[in-house]
Amino acid sequence: MKPVTRIHSRTAVLADENIDTDRIIPARFLTTTTREGLGRRCFNDWRYQADGSDNPAFPLNRPEAKGCAILVAGRNFGCGSSREHAPWALLDYGIQAVLCSEIADIFRNNALKNGLLAIVVSEAEHHWLLEHPGVELAIDVREQHISLPDGGRIRFQLERFARHCLLEGVDQLGFLLQHAETITRYEFQHEEHAA
C-alpha cells in the first residue's frame, strides 16, 4: 500500500443514510477475479439511467461534484456485505476519503486496509458537512485533523495501528508474517493434544 498522509479536495455529498454495499457496487458485478476497473460500476444502479446514460439526479453526476476525492455520506455508510469490492470501486472511481458520523465495521476495516480514509466525525460536524457540499477540506492523517477553509479544524480518531499503516504504507501481511514463530508456538501449544 502507498502511504496516505494528506488529502486535499472539495467534498461531494451523498446524504442518504445506510448506503449499503449493494448500492456501492451491485452484486452482479462481483463475478470479477481481479480488483481493477471497478470504478465504472461504482454506484452503478444509482448513477446510470436505464439506457446507460448518466442519471442527472445522482448527486455525484453534478458538474460541481466531478473530481471530488472526499465523500461526505449519510450515517452508517457501507453497511451490508463484507465485499472489499466496495472500497476498491470507490478508490477506482476517485474517492480517497469518506466522512460520516458512523461507518459500518467491516467496510471501515476494508477501506483502511486499502488506503481509503474512512473517518468518523461527530454528529454536529457531520451535520455541518452534509449541509455544505463542495467545501474545500484538507485531511491530515498524521495530525488527525481536517482543516476547513475558514481556518477551523475537525479532529478525528484513527486507530493507532491503522494510522501507522497509512502513514508508512505498512504492509499488514508482512507485519503478520514477522510473527510466524509466535504463531507456530501457539499452534504447537494448542494442538499437542490432537492427533
Binding site: 452484486a27 465485499r83 465495521d105 503478520l176 508474517l177
Partner: protein, 471 residues
C-alpha cells in the same frame, strides 16, 4: 479469575499476541471458509509473494454464489449467468487444486451455501474462531463459535498466516424472555430484534443472544437468528452451546469422534458466560409479544408485524424507501400483492425451513401470476428433502425446485426479479436492487413466504398451518 462472557473466553483462547495501544491483537483462526467471489484476489496475493497457504487442513471451500441453480443442459453445460461467473468458479477450482484445499465443488455430494455446509459437516464447532469472506459468517455463532466476515485482504492474511489483526469488539447481550407464540418463528424473532435495535444497533459489538426463548430454539433456528446479526451491524452473533448443540453435532463427519468427542464436550461445557459476567450493553426483548414480522423498507431494520400499520417516514430517506417499496404509511404490509416468492439463502434454506414452507403448500397451489423458487441450502438438504417427498409438494403446488446455491439472495447467478416486482423472500437483505435492479424485497419467514405464495398477497401463515403445527 473474574467472571467472563462467552465472547471473552473465545477471544482469550485465540490470542497469539494480545493487543496494545500501538498494535491490534493477533487472533488465531481455527476454520477458514472460502467461496468463489471473495477469494481470487487473495490467492493472487499469495502467488505474487510466493507464499504457501499455511493451513489447508483448516480451510474448506465451496461453490455457491455464482453458481446456476438449474441443472446442466442436454450438452452437459451448466447455465452460468455469463462467462465471468463461469471463469470465477473455474478459478476457485484451480486455486483449491494448486493450494491443496478441500473443495466441495460440483462433483461433491456435500456442496452448498458456505454457511449451511460448515455446520452440516460438523466443521463448525463450539469454541472455535471461524472466518469467511462473507458477512453472514455470523451464522456459525449459533454453535458458540466466534465467527465473523472479513474482506479479501484479510482472506489473504488468514491464508498466509492463519491469523488476523483485530481490535477487541464490545459485547451486547440480547436477553429474549418468554416464549414465542404459536406460529411465530426464529425469522420473526430476529426481524423483530433488528426492528427494535436498528441496522446499526450492534455496530462495534458482538451480540450474545440469551434467555429462555433462545434456549428453546433448535440449532436451525439459532442459525437463522445468528445469521442476521450482521443486519444489525454487529461483528458477530453468539449463542452459548448446550445439550441441543452437542446432540446436533454428534456423529457429523468433521466432528470429534469417540474419546475425543467426550473431551470436546467437556471443554465446550465451560464456554457459556459465567454468572455475573458483564456486558458493555444489554437489551431485553419479550418473545411473547412477537407476531409474524416482515420488512417494509429497504433495510432490515425497517421491520414490523405484518398486521401493523407502516410507520410514517421520519425523513426524506425513509420516504424514498417507502416510495421504492410502494408501501404506504398507515397501511399494513399484509395484503400487499406479490409477484415472486423465494425460499432459500443461508438464513432459511435448511430442511426445517423447507418443511415449514411445504406444510403450508401441501394440497394448495401457488397463486396465478406468482412465481415461487425453492432453493435448498445444500446437496444434503436437497437429498433429505427429496427423501421426504418435499420436492413433490413444491412441484404439485407449482413452485420451482432448484439446485443448491445462494440464488436470489444475492441475484448474481441469473436468478433475479424484474424491476418493480415484489418478492417475499426468506433471505436476509432487502436493499434496493439486491434481488435485481428495481426489485422490491420483503423479508419474511418460510411460513410467511409460502402463505404469501398461495394467497398471492402478503399473508399471515397462521391461517395456513395445521393445528398441530401452529400449536
Amino acid at each position: 479469575m473474574s467472571a467472563r462472557t462467552l465472547f471473552e473466553k473465545l477471544w482469550d483462547a485465540h490470542l497469539v499476541a494480545p493487543e496494545s495501544a500501538d498494535t491490534p491483537a493477533i487472533l488465531y483462526i481455527d476454520l477458514h471458509l472460502v467461496h468463489e467471489v471473495t477469494s481470487p484476489q487473495a490467492f493472487d496475493e499469495l502467488r505474487g509473494r510466493g507464499l504457501p497457504l499455511r493451513r489447508p487442513d483448516r480451510t474448506l471451500a465451496t461453490l455457491d454464489h455464482s453458481t446456476p441453480t438449474l441443472p446442466p443442459g442436454p450438452d452437459g453445460e451448466r447455465p452460468y449467468a455469463n462467462a465471468e461467473a463461469k471463469a470465477q468458479v473455474a478459478t476457485l477450482e484451480a486455486n483449491c487444486a494448486e493450494f491443496g484445499i478441500e473443495l466441495h465443488g460440483w462433483d461433491s455430494s456435500d456442496r452448498g451455501i458456505v454457511h449451511v455446509i460448515g455446520p452440516e459437516l460438523g466443521a463448525t464447532q463450539p469454541g472455535m474462531t471461524i472466518v469467511c469472506g462473507d458477512s453472514h459468517t455470523s451464522t456459525h455463532g449459533a454453535f458458540g463459535a466466534l465467527a465473523f466476515g472479513i474482506g479479501t485482504t484479510e482472506v489473504g492474511h488468514v491464508m498466509a498466516t492463519q491469523c488476523l489483526l483485530q481490535r477487541k469488539p464490545k459485547t451486547l447481550a440480547i436477553h429474549v424472555d418468554g416464549a414465542l407464540p404459536k406460529g411465530v418463528g426464529a425469522k420473526d424473532l430476529i426481524l423483530h430484534i433488528i426492528g427494535q435495535i436498528g441496522v446499526d444497533g450492534g455496530t462495534g459489538h458482538v451480540i450474545e443472544y440469551r434467555g429462555p426463548a433462545i434456549e428453546a430454539l433448535s440449532m436451525e433456528e439459532r442459525m437463522t437468528v445468528c445469521n442476521m446479526s450482521i443486519e444489525a451491524g454487529a461483528r458477530a452473533g453468539l449463542i452459548a452451546p448446550d445439550a441441543t448443540t452437542f446432540a446436533w453435532l454428534k456423529g457429523r463427519p468433521h466432528a470429534p469422534q469417540g474419546a475425543d468427542w467426550d473431551a470436546a464436550v467437556a471443554a465446550w461445557r465451560a464456554l457459556p458466560s459465567d454468572e455475573g459476567a458483564r456486558y458493555d450493553r444489554e437489551v431485553r426483548i419479550d418473545a411473547s409479544q412477537i407476531r409474524p414480522t416482515v420488512t417494509y423498507g429497504t433495510h432490515p431494520g425497517m421491520a414490523i408485524a405484518m398486521d401493523t400499520p407502516v410507520p410514517a417516514p421520519r425523513n426524506a430517506v425513509e420516504q424514498r424507501a417507502l416510495d421504492y417499496m410502494q408501501a404506504r404509511a398507515g397501511h399494513a404490509m399484509q395484503g400487499m400483492p406479490v409477484d415472486v416468492v423465494f425460499v432459500g439463502s443461508c438464513t432459511n434454506s435448511r430442511l426445517s425451513d423447507l418443511r415449514e414452507a411445504a406444510e403450508v403448500l401441501r394440497g394448495r397451489r401457488v397463486a396465478d401470476g406468482v412465481r415461487m423458487l425453492v432453493v435448498p441450502g445444500s446437496e444434503a438438504v436437497r437429498r433429505d428433502a427429496e427423501r421426504e417427498g418435499l420436492h413433490e409438494v413444491f412441484a404439485a403446488a407449482g413452485a420451482e425446485w432448484r439446485v443448491p446455491g445462494c440464488s436470489m439472495c444475492i441475484a448474481m447467478n441469473g436468478d433475479l426479479a424484474q424491476p418493480g416486482q415484489l418478492v417475499v423472500s426468506t433471505s436476509n437483505r432487502n436493499f434496493e436492487g439486491r434481488q435485481g435492479k428495481g426489485a422490491r424485497t420483503v423479508l419474511a419467514s418460510p411460513a410467511t413466504a409460502a402463505a404469501s405464495a398461495v394467497a398471492g398477497r402478503i399473508a399471515d401463515p397462521r391461517g395456513y398451518m395445521n393445528q398441530e403445527q401452529a400449536a
